[in-house]
């Protein structure tokens, strides 16, 4: 009998500037991020796509899901540039949160910080790209297509 304790899977602690939860059944999202891919989940039973990814379908309650990659362009739904930040995010200022519409799912994230905010327009085509933060954490950002 092995006395070795099973390691807790805390990969999700790597997500975002500050992660507020470490364990989730969609922890593979982080492995995909490390390989440069932003993924969503697809319910194999009823066909619904989910971003953010889910281990279980809220429609048909099936847990038979598969990973698919967020590819191509999304349309910018809206955005805002923050000049104040919540505790833990000061170092990132100024940064912009935003959402892209990919048709049958939407992705919430941040705008590429190198973008000139005055050139950002609602409706513009953007892509979702993995980004490593200065503190070594991972998130994803939206770049001009």
């Amino acid at each position: 009998m092995s006395k070795a304790k099973k390691q807790e899977d805390v990969r999700f602690g790597k997500f975002g500037t500050v992660s507020f939860t470490k364990t989730t059944r969609v922890n593979d999202f982080i492995d995909y991020l490390e390989n440069g891919k932003v993924m969503y989940t697809h319910c194999k039973t009823c066909g619904v796509n989910y971003f953010p990814p889910r281990a279980d379908c809220g429609g048909c309650l099936s847990s038979d899901t598969e990973w698919k990659e967020v590819t191509g362009n999304g349309k910018l739904v809206s955005y805002s540039q923050l000049k104040y930040a919540p505790v833990g995010f000061d170092e990132d200022l100024p940064y912009s949160i935003a959402m892209l519409d990919y048709g049958d799912y939407q992705v919430f994230g941040r705008l590429d910080s190198s973008l000139d905010i005055d050139t950002v327009k609602i409706g513009m085509e953007m892509t979702t790209v993995v980004n490593e933060l200065p503190n070594g954490q991972l998130n994803y950002i939206f770049k001009k297509a």
Binding site: S19, S78, Y84, Q106, I122
Partner: protein, 389 residues
């Protein structure tokens, strides 16, 4: 179901920093409501305590408050829907009384926000969103509402001047409300003067002047069944409609960011239950945590068509003398927004209006009033319709 009335209302002054404990703050609104209702605490046969968690250390605060207010051994419940907690409390109390299980119920809303810093408070509020997928990006309430403002500006041509005009209106009434935390006047010029604090960007396009102030405060409502209401109260205010809805916490699950679907759905349910429509509303309180939120409310409630909110404020139709007076007590923008107390405070304002007891803020002879109270960024929508007949 039996009829249910509000027979007593109370509210503390909303202040930057309340110099006492949570239970002592709760006492202030409760005492006023009990006195207003002309009853004693022995008449209360259940209480509902409403606040958002993590602003103070007290866990299960309903128990501490019930003890302090002399409400043992009657049952007490703790309810939370972020900024709409106390209008949710009203709906629960309505259900408890209408079902016949209870006769007289107290709803106590409270928040003591000053126990933590403003930045910590933003972090707490940001975590009123999805902490797994959105909070790690550094979200906060002003930024989410700013995204709604940006989308509304883009879709309907709403301007920053329109938003400033809503703050100017709020300040008009905040100056005459002695319970408000912000009592000063606000002018449109403050928003364009780079040296004025009001013009500073918080989260584009929203400026300091577009945001409500944190505050400490409490509110209290006493509801009763028809028999008790008629026994205790000369001017019972009847609960005609309680519409509530919920929406995806994730912005990604929403079909729009130029409006709040939960608010629209709650309004439809409340109108249907009350058997009235937007044109029947004589006075309203809406959840103006940000200027854009009031504009969205005009449209969600049917006071204006989608995109038409700006014309209402431009024409001063939502002033006291206008066709649909809104937030003539200063709103959250001037009165302040002590999260768990806010809904009860809004309801108190409408009760006073419908009784004709609103003093300098009194609208002429209102019969039907409406309260729109939103939890999170449209996660919870509560619309309550009250009448004096």
């Amino acid at each position: 179901m039996g009829k249910v009335a509000i027979i007593g209302v109370g509210q503390s002054k909303f202040v930057r920093k309340y110099p006492g404990s949570l239970r002592e703050l709760a006492f202030e609104g409760f005492k006023e409501a009990i006195t207003d209702a002309g009853i004693t605490n022995n008449e209360i046969d259940a209480s509902v305590f409403c606040s958002a968690p993590e602003y103070d250390k007290q866990r299960s605060p309903s128990a501490v408050v019930a003890e302090y207010l002399g409400l043992n051994p009657q049952p007490t419940f703790y309810v939370e829907t972020l900024c709409s907690s106390s209008s949710t409390g009203l709906k629960l109390a309505y259900s408890m009384v209408a079902s016949g299980l209870h006769d007289v119920v107290a709803i106590i809303g409270l928040q003591k926000m000053s126990e933590i810093s403003s930045a910590e408070s933003q972090e707490r509020m940001g975590r009123g969103a999805d902490i797994q997928w959105e909070s790690p990006f550094g979200t906060m309430m002003p930024a989410y509402y700013a995204m709604h403002a940006q989308a509304h500006i883009d879709k309907y041509g709403t301007t920053l001047e329109d938003l400033a005009a809503i703050r100017v209106k709020a300040a008009t009434y905040g100056q005459i409300n002695d319970r408000a935390v912000y009592r000063k006047a606000v002018t449109p010029e403050m928003f364009t003067d780079p040296d004025n604090m009001m013009s500073g960007t918080v989260s584009s396009p929203l400026r300091v002047g577009d945001c409500c102030a944190n505050a400490d405060g409490t509110s209290c409502l006493i509801v009763a069944n028809e028999e008790k209401a008629k026994q205790f109260c000369k001017k019972p205010i009847w609960i005609l409609g309680v519409g509530t809805a919920s929406a995806s916490v994730n912005l990604t699950g929403r079909d729009r960011v130029h409006g709040l679907l939960a608010a629209e759905q709650a309004a439809q349910k409340a109108y249907t239950m009350a058997g009235v429509g937007p044109k029947d509303i004589d006075v309203a309180e809406v959840h103006d945590c940000f200027t854009i939120a009031e504009l969205l409310a005009y449209e969600a409630l049917g006071f204006a068509d989608p995109g038409g909110g700006k014309e209402l404020i431009q024409g001063q139709e939502t002033y006291k003398e206008g066709s649909i007076p809104v937030n003539v007590d200063g709103g959250l923008l001037s009165k302040g927004h002590p999260i768990g107390a806010t809904g009860g405070s809004q309801i108190r304002t409408i009760v006073l209006q419908l009784r004709g007891e609103a003093g300098d803020m009194q609208v002429q002879d209102p019969q039907i009033g409406l309260v729109h109270n939103i939890g999170g960024v449209g996660i919870y929508g509560n619309v309550t319709i009250l009448g004096n007949q």
